[in-house]
């Protein structure tokens, strides 16, 4: 998995790059739509590719492991074959969902035991079996098994958790390096920096992660409730240490403004459920600002949702029509809003990339952050 840097912004740490995978090249900075259970909610595979122009999507190991289960996924020949998405897939380690969705869970050095939120059945995730699981799902990029600490988190817990995450990482590496890809294409492991909101822990963790010399590196444990300033501060500390020549993935981030600010700090890859989850609640991100489409003011606005970003959905349907669908609780409302929001997110990172290449990113970013954050 080769990463090439095409351009660096002169006035920020932003860079434009290309990450080559066996399922094609990803142009960075990139936003990765979240496909929890093998589907980006309310979006067809074709729409993801042709309308949204996604280049890589996420799968959630926790969800896919429980349903449809590894047996079905292996019989299908992996997730790409199962859902028809033939571009790169990144899977998380399942750790985050085990902590957030599973009612009862026990963290031990060996791993985490938890109960399924679907049927209450008991399961054990270890660094080793989570590597095997992600191989079976068929991810191009496999995430290390870590503990994502909550916010706030006391220093002692954050330090001990980080140290365990580092020990788990070595077990992940040992497992991945002693096993083979399952479906004929390369599967690369990305380790994850933890350390909560503690500067020294973040530095320490970034050093450890950098020393492992993997194909890419991730920053976890942010966007979990801390103030945005804290998140940027931690991200900057970490991107200063993580190697320049490897892609950097900031996990679970965020709003359009968060994304632009993180790119300015040297982040190359991001993911978040926000564009799809908020879409299902009638919240639209547009190139002009944020729209709550349920508001009365849109009832007779027959202009397209966001003509500036292009794409079928954003140029074809009017705000008034979408508002009507949302109020009528029509499924199509979720479809249109999800496709629109993802189209906007992908448009935004593409614009960012172009501005990095043309050397105008920093000033453009400051204007855009204000624009995309305002409420219309």
């Amino acid at each position: 998995m080769k990463f090439e840097i095409n351009a660096k912004d002169p006035k920020s740490r932003a860079r434009a790059g290309e990450l080559n995978t066996d399922h094609g090249t990803i142009q960075t900075p990139i936003f990765m739509p979240v496909g929890t259970a093998g589907t980006v909610k309310a979006v067809h595979t074709r729409e993801l590719k042709e309308d949204i122009k996604a280049q890589i999507i996420l799968g959630n190991t926790y969800h896919l492991y429980l349903r449809p289960g590894l047996e079905i996924l292996q019989q299908a020949g992996g997730l790409h074959k199962f859902n028809g998405w033939d571009k790169p897939i990144l899977t998380d380690s399942g750790g985050y969902q085990v902590f957030s969705l599973s009612g009862t869970r026990k963290i031990k050095e060996e791993g985490v035991t938890f109960k399924s939120h679907i049927d209450g059945s008991k399961h054990l995730f270890t660094p080793e079996n989570v590597m095997d699981t992600q191989r079976k799902i068929g991810a191009d990029i496999i995430m290390a098994f870590d503990e994502c600490t909550p916010y706030p988190c006391d220093f002692k817990y954050a330090r001990e958790s980080m140290e365990m995450t580092h020990r788990w990482l070595q077990r992940c590496i040992d497992r991945v390096d002693s096993t083979d890809p399952l479906y004929g294409y390369n599967q690369e492991l990305f380790p994850i920096v933890q350390g909560s909101t503690y500067k020294d822990l973040r530095m320490q963790s970034a050093e450890v992660i950098a020393s492992k010399n993997r194909a890419g590196n991730a920053i976890g444990g942010l966007s979990v409730g801390e103030p945005a300033e804290k998140m940027y501060e931690m991200t900057e500390i970490v991107t200063n240490i993580l190697p320049e020549e490897k892609p950097r993935y900031l996990m679970g981030v965020g709003t359009p403004a968060n994304i632009l600010e993180s790119i300015a700090l040297g982040v190359d890859m991001l993911d978040c459920v926000m564009p799809t989850r908020n879409a299902r609640n009638g919240m639209l991100f547009t190139s002009e600002g944020i729209i709550n489409i349920k508001n009365e003011k849109w009832k007779d606005d027959f202009s397209p949702i966001d003509p500036a970003i292009g794409g079928y959905v954003s140029t074809f349907y009017s705000k008034a029509y979408l508002r009507h669908l949302v109020r009528s609780q029509e499924i199509l409302a979720a479809q249109i809003a999800s496709i629109h929001n993802l189209t906007f997110y992908l448009w935004l990172v593409k614009e960012a990339r172009e501005k990095i290449i043309s050397g105008e990113f920093a000033s453009w970013k400051n204007i855009m952050v204000e624009k995309v954050s305002r409420r219309l």
Copy 2:
């Protein structure tokens, strides 16, 4: 609105025709997807046109009148402009929904008073204002305001109701003929035959409706719980009387087998919520038979849903993947199943048309009725 008959099947009453509207030509026999609240549920306008290859869709006057309301629809320039569907639209009269959805309703000679199922507000539908409403919605084909009798229905009620429907029809005609189209294209009224399951009432009603000499004629009050044989018997009686040279629309029908049998009796147009409603419950109609996709047997069937009928959804997604989506209660499940079922219905009537033209309809129909009715 000109109707041309291209071919007649030598061994049945089936015919292939073309109905010319100001929004394009409809090739008959045709199935019309139901777009209740201005959207065919879970289906994008583009998919309706390019994947499903729908030629005309329905809108429900009751739903559209209540939400978004006539003011918004008129400001939009009619339903075509509002939802982006630029082919023909037929609207029902709202009568059926007033009777089935509205809690309290009172039928009088003047019209029907009812309470909205959304907010309990009180409304009055009359033959006259329902014509105005359909003009405002912007239908190419406007349906007469009638009473759809339930099944079973005693003879006296059926007769009196039919007689009122005939009186209402004259009021509809007077109103339509004394008002102009609102959006620059022709809007034609179709009267509706009633008479429950009584042969003499059906004959009487068909004679009255035929005598009005409108651009097309409809058969209502069937597919409301009566045995299929009774429905075919009534349909046959009526199609024997309704003029040959006008399109015949059998309302609210039905299963794939019902559709083929009705075509054989001389029906040209049909609509039903079944393909979309059943899709949302995991029931698929295919060229090989009926599939309950929730069944265990499909869990590792990685073959496409129905490659024989063509189209993106039916050839791209596997049965196992769709089953997974249904079990995971993913919105995409409703989308895939709805598009598939509608693609199948449109494929079926297109096949029927081709068989009528090639003179093989009757024998093909008998084989297909068995095939599409079996449970896989």
